[in-house]
Amino acid sequence: METDASKHDDVLVEMKGIWMEGRSDEDWHPIINGVDLKLRQGEVLGLIGESGAGKSTLGLAAMGFCRDGVRISKGSVHFDGIDLLSASSEDKRKLLGKRIAYVAQSAAASFNPAHRLIDQHTEAPIQHGIMTKAESEADGMELYRKLRLPNPDEIGFRYPHQVSGGQLQRAMTAMAMACRPDLIIFDEPTTALDVTTQIEVLASIRQIVEEFNTAAIYITHDLAVVAQMADTIKVLLKGDEVEEAETREMLSNPTQAYTKSLWAVREFQRPAKPAVLTGATPVISVQNVTAAYGKIDVLHDISFDIHQGRTVAVVGESGSGKSTAARCITGLLPPRIGQVELDGASLPLDYRKRDRSQLQKIQMIYQMADTALNPRQTVGDIIGRPVEFYTGLTGKARRKRVEELMDQIELPADQFIDRLPSEMSGGQKQRVGIARSLAAEPNFIVCDEVTSALDQLVAEGILRLLADLQDKLNLSYMFITHDLATVKSIADEVVVMKDGCVVEQGPKAEMFTPPHHAYTDLLLSSVPEMDPDWLTNLLQERGVDNIGDAAVGKMT
């Protein structure tokens, strides 16, 4: 059997008819249903699909590795002619790290907090007997330099918590390269990063994979990212292969309906609304707000207005103060200086000093519906509680109102009203979160990254729902997001934040047409596009030192 695979000497990985199962409670349920995969030396395969499609599971199986509670029930995995499924764990260990390496989604979680980066880097080469510690350290610094990490000779001697997320992700790519493997599995390596950081990591990964002619399996849910990285793309849906094709072919000419629907997601666009009348009173007006955690100011003199029936998107990277601004509006974090007006009247800064009608008018929807809903309450109770609290309805009237609200969020009340959060999907939970905020009959809703934990198709559904509700109920939204595609589809006005300051604000149409503020320009240019030449062109246009965080550094 093995000789069969080794005959085609350029085939590195061959997976045939892989069936995988995962255990929940006592039952084994299918995760991967008969997928084939073939990867040649130096080739990059993109594996895409929504969460739960089995991408990571399949990627790990290519290393002959299963997480606890997962098993390969049928099929074969050959790596360079070696049957990984029948190999002893001793033999597999000799391959892992040395010839097959792994780059995980969260570098912050995947580096051991107790050891310095360089010690983790040199571990595999030393343990596999490839290099001495000194050789491997020198090589590590060389790789850090290639990956354009700052202070490459020094950064390795830091602990993981002393290094930023994007730098950690590059250090992890360097670690995967430590033994010059033939194959690297990249498991969503940029999903947790900001766009400007992502672009640097993408450029680094692509460069180093090309330089050492390493084969790679690149797992992601982001089509635009995979378009930059992969030679071929394989689409997975709930453990089934949908189709596989060469990247350009796949982008220009998808054959399957599911693939087409993935491509179509980004086309949702709301019609532009007429300009706000001059002199109209904004629903929410943030005026010269400066706020601090402890003694350190994190917001510096920010001001913006949100008008009735409009969506203001607040964009910026993590740590830019978007959520803090929302906390100032809701009164969770009273500003140090400045004030917040509701319908032209000044609001008490602390939510504890606001009266019920003021509280009622400002509601929130959270990023993680999982943690924002009480896991022990049914949908009926979760929505019913604010109904009772704000409108005073009880008994049958309350239930009727809950049913109306569930109708608005397009969840049939008869099916869902008695369910617990654990019995619903992510998108359904987010809808319940929306209904809960609507229950108060607010004028203004803060949507804090409400779609970033959701798959694209589901997120699209949520965005459409929010848009419909806005039209029906004349709601105003403050839409906090780091995803500019979302901004394009839903916003009327945009506020760009950086380091606690507003760098630019205005109507969406203006914001998306040049000239931009330098930072807005960088944000916009960092969003990957479906064009497979996008990254190449951008690098040519700007040069490696003028993208991502390096460019941000030059600005300040």
Binding site: R93, Y102, A104, S110, Q127, Y293
Partner: protein, 349 residues
């Protein structure tokens, strides 16, 4: 947001530095510890006074005449109001004078040598306490490495026969009464195979090796008592971490399982292990009466029980304060070691 807050905390700590913040914690805990000791002394004093009978009745027995009882009470000041006695004792204790034992004082007056120079409680307790610390030290030196190693091996071979056997054995040893374990060990290590002495009658001026030999059997008994707790916590703390991404990463780098556990899991599991070790060491200092009795080991536990029996309040008070101090100091040490074992705090940004 959370990230920002975490950064802030780190930034706030930056100017003071890790050493300063640790010193601050130590100072705070010591102050709280003193307060705890004060409360403990009140509780103990009250509790001992609530016991039926007092030293005079206990020492004179059933044939006591009221006059004799009264004489001893007057002699020792037991006829005074409890609050006054407590204040007197506290005043003395604050000046480093823990008072003198009733039993010693009374014996001295019987033989007519009450010259006012009595053996103080401190002098009486000191050698006993040293013995107890020696026993605790020998036990810790055996038990801690043994339990942690067992825990690591049990985590490595989790759910195997070895793991189960270790669990069953340690759990049975912690569930058995201490005297039973002691007699079993005496049977096998002193009677059937006369390797170790069954009596631990150590005294001043003994050579260290003799002392060690005599202490070994009680130390082994106590090892059996404390191992289970530490071993199971080590195992649980390590297994708890095995699902973390960095452990998966280490496995995917082809690192062998033993190294994954010792090098990657153990350093991150130290905090809970240290806490359980401290708790068990405190037990070794304060709770080994039964083992001391079985082996006739002259430790502080026996002295304590004897003093309670005859209502010898000054000695009981002093012992309780020592026990409480041991708990407080060991827990403080454990907290500081846990903090220091966290690289985020050792190496601030």
């Amino acid at each position: 947001m959370g990230e920002a807050a975490a950064n802030l905390i780190l930034h706030e700590k930056k100017p003071t530095g890790i050493l300063d913040s640790v010193l601050k914690i130590i100072a705070q805990r010591l102050a709280l510890g003193l307060l705890t000791l004060f409360i403990v002394s009140i509780v103990i004093f009250a509790a001992v006074n609530l016991l039926p009978g007092d030293f005079a009745q206990a020492i004179l027995g059933q044939g006591a005449t009221p006059e004799a009882v009264e004489a001893i009470r007057t002699d020792l000041g037991l006829d005074q109001h409890p609050v006054k006695r407590y204040m007197q004792w506290l005043g003395g204790a604050l000046q480093g004078d823990l008072g003198s034992s009733f039993a010693q004082a009374n014996f001295a007056s019987f033989v007519g040598e009450d010259s006012g120079v009595r053996t103080s409680v401190a002098q009486q307790i000191a050698p006993r306490f040293a013995n107890t610390m020696f026993l605790a030290g020998v036990t810790a030196a055996i038990a801690v490495p043994f339990a942690v190693t067992l825990g690591i091996l049990a985590a490595l071979y989790r759910n195997s026969i070895f793991d189960r056997a270790t669990n069953i054995l340690t759990l049975s040893s912690i569930s058995s009464p201490e005297f039973f374990l002691a007699y079993v060990l005496i049977l096998f290590l002193a009677v059937l195979n006369p390797w170790l002495p069954s009596l631990s009658n150590i005294y001043d001026g003994m050579a260290f090796s003799d002392r060690l030999e005599k202490t070994l059997l009680p130390a082994l008994t106590l090892t059996l008592v404390v191992t289970a707790h530490m071993m199971r916590m080590t195992r649980a703390a390590i297994i708890n971490l095995l699902a973390s991404p960095y452990i998966e990463m280490a496995r995917l780098k082809g690192i062998n399982p033993m190294r994954v556990i010792v090098k990657h899991a153990l350093p991150n599991a130290l905090a809970p292990i240290i806490n359980v070790v401290a708790l068990n060491l405190a037990y070794l200092i304060t709770g080994v009466v039964v083992v001391e009795v079985v082996f006739v080991y002259p430790g502080i536990g026996q002295l304590f029980v004897d003093s309670v029996k005859i209502r010898d309040i000054p000695v009981v008070q002093a012992c309780c304060l020592i026990f409480a101090a041991a708990y407080i100091l060991l827990n403080l040490t454990a907290d500081i070691l846990s903090i220091v074992s966290n690289p985020r705090l050792r190496h601030p940004k």
